[in-house]
């Protein structure tokens, strides 16, 4: 009676997590199937603020036709969207808007930063413009160009598909929401300063702290 089977003693603490069973044949086959399905039916949430949106529209229209990538359904509701495409510069006034749209999108979700301004602030290195949307939301693919041609955006979309096909459900951090923390930012302030640093022949920028 006093004997306790050591193998069953801590059974209540045993949690079968995905990471504990991975990687094995089942998860890799399941990954292949889910990633194949996800990568080929990305529903884009267009966040078009400037001239990049014109190129985005050209990409969606018949000549370039992103329907070929399973993106024919433009999702104008963030609740039914998979990939946020920020096409154009993002002023600080729109920062809470894109942040809320991103928070409203359900997992799994990805984002594409289209063009120089969305990625870095571009020529708008001034008081009113976010210096790269990666200071506001996490970004998966940056598409360079001013604006990028539709071929450039399609290459970005294909890169995102490639990235999705490399994901695994064994990564338990992959689908964790990166929310705005108590500091009011989702990155440390020093990181935001670093990402927003002036470049080229620009002059001094006020730093945190």
């Amino acid at each position: 009676m006093g004997l306790v089977n050591p193998s069953s003693e801590n059974r209540a603490d045993e949690v079968t997590t995905v990471s504990s069973i991975s990687p094995n044949w089942v998860t890799t086959r399941l990954d292949f199937l889910t990633n194949w399905a996800r990568a080929n039916s990305l529903w884009p949430m267009p966040f078009g603020t400037a001239c990049c949106a014109i190129e985005y529209m050209a990409t969606a229209a018949s000549r370039f036709d992103i329907a070929r990538f399973g993106m024919e359904r433009q999702s104008f509701s963030p609740r039914q969207a998979d990939v946020l495409i920020c096409a154009g510069r993002l002023p600080f006034k729109l920062a809470p808007v894109i942040r809320r749209i991103w928070d409203q999108m359900p997992q799994p979700k990805w984002s594409i930063s289209m063009g120089a301004c969305a990625s870095t602030g571009g020529i708008f290195d001034n008081y009113s413009m976010v210096q790269g949307i990666d200071t506001i939301i996490p970004v998966d693919v940056y598409v360079p160009g001013c604006p990028p041609r539709p071929e450039g955006l399609m290459y970005g979309i294909m890169l995102l598909q490639k990235k999705i096909k490399g994901e695994t459900i064994a990564d338990d951090q992959l689908r964790v929401e990166k929310l705005v923390g108590p500091s009011g930012l989702f990155l440390p302030p020093e990181r935001v300063d670093e990402l927003s640093e002036p470049f080229g022949n620009s002059v001094q920028q006020t730093r945190s702290g």
């Binding site: 600080f92 006034k93 920062a95 809470p96 808007v97 942040r99 290195d125 001034n126 008081y127 009113s128 976010v130 210096q131 200071t135 506001i136 705005v180 500091s183 009011g184 930012l185 302030p189 020093e190 935001v192 300063d193 990402l195 927003s196 002036p198 920028q205 006020t206 730093r207 945190s208």
Partner: protein, 209 residues
């Protein structure tokens, strides 16, 4: 063909005889007449230009302001007037001494189109338009705390660090600063979910306080 000589607008002699000392000076620049008017009489002069027969400047093309690099020079508020019937233009300027409060009478009661134009000048230059019914920021968000961006003493990238700018922008809660009419939900407000109503009521200018 001989180049046409700069033409002085016939409004200037009429203004001089009507207002004498309130008309500080006038000049013709690139064929366009500019009249500089005393600040205290500006509303009288503009009302006279709008309503008196033979003037009838019934269309306010633009209200803007100019801050010169020389700190001794006054800040100028510029009214660009147009008479649609007479097909004539006139530019009226009001010089504001920077050592005194930047205040001028609003012309909202003369031209309703001055509403947003004066709000923009207030937002960018900090000029107070006395008598404006709804003088608040229009381009920057309402809690914007860095000052007036188009003043010459305003640094291009603003006063704060990028991290602080990003933090303040994300905390802006834009819905709280619009009236129910502006959001076109005045009639359905009662049917909104409780959480949405609370979010609308929150914020510095929360209209439901």
């Amino acid at each position: 063909m001989t180049p046409t000589l700069p033409m002085l607008s016939p409004s200037v002699p009429a203004l001089r005889s009507e207002f004498s000392t309130a008309i500080e000076r006038h000049l013709v620049s690139s064929g366009q007449t500019v009249v500089v008017v005393n600040r205290d009489r500006s509303h009288d002069v503009l009302a006279w230009l709008k309503d008196s027969p033979g003037q009838e400047f019934n269309y306010l093309t633009d209200v803007t302001a100019v801050d010169y690099r020389d700190p001794e020079r006054p800040l100028e508020v510029v009214y660009q007037l147009r008479s649609l019937g007479r097909k004539a233009d006139l530019r009226v300027k009001v010089a504001l001494d920077k050592r005194q409060p930047l205040e001028v009478r609003s012309v909202y009661d003369l031209w309703r189109g001055a509403d947003w134009l004066e709000r923009e000048v207030y937002d960018m230059f900090g000029v107070t338009f006395v008598g404006h019914p709804d003088l608040r920021r229009i381009l920057m968000w309402e809690t914007y705390a860095e000052g007036y961006p188009l003043r010459k003493d305003f640094p291009l990238r603003g006063h704060f660090s990028r991290a602080e700018q990003t933090r303040q922008a994300l905390a802006a809660n834009p819905e709280a600063h619009y009236s129910l009419e502006e959001m076109s939900i005045a009639e359905t407000y009662g049917e909104l979910p409780k959480a949405v109503r609370e979010r609308l009521a929150k914020g510095e200018r929360g209209f439901l306080k």
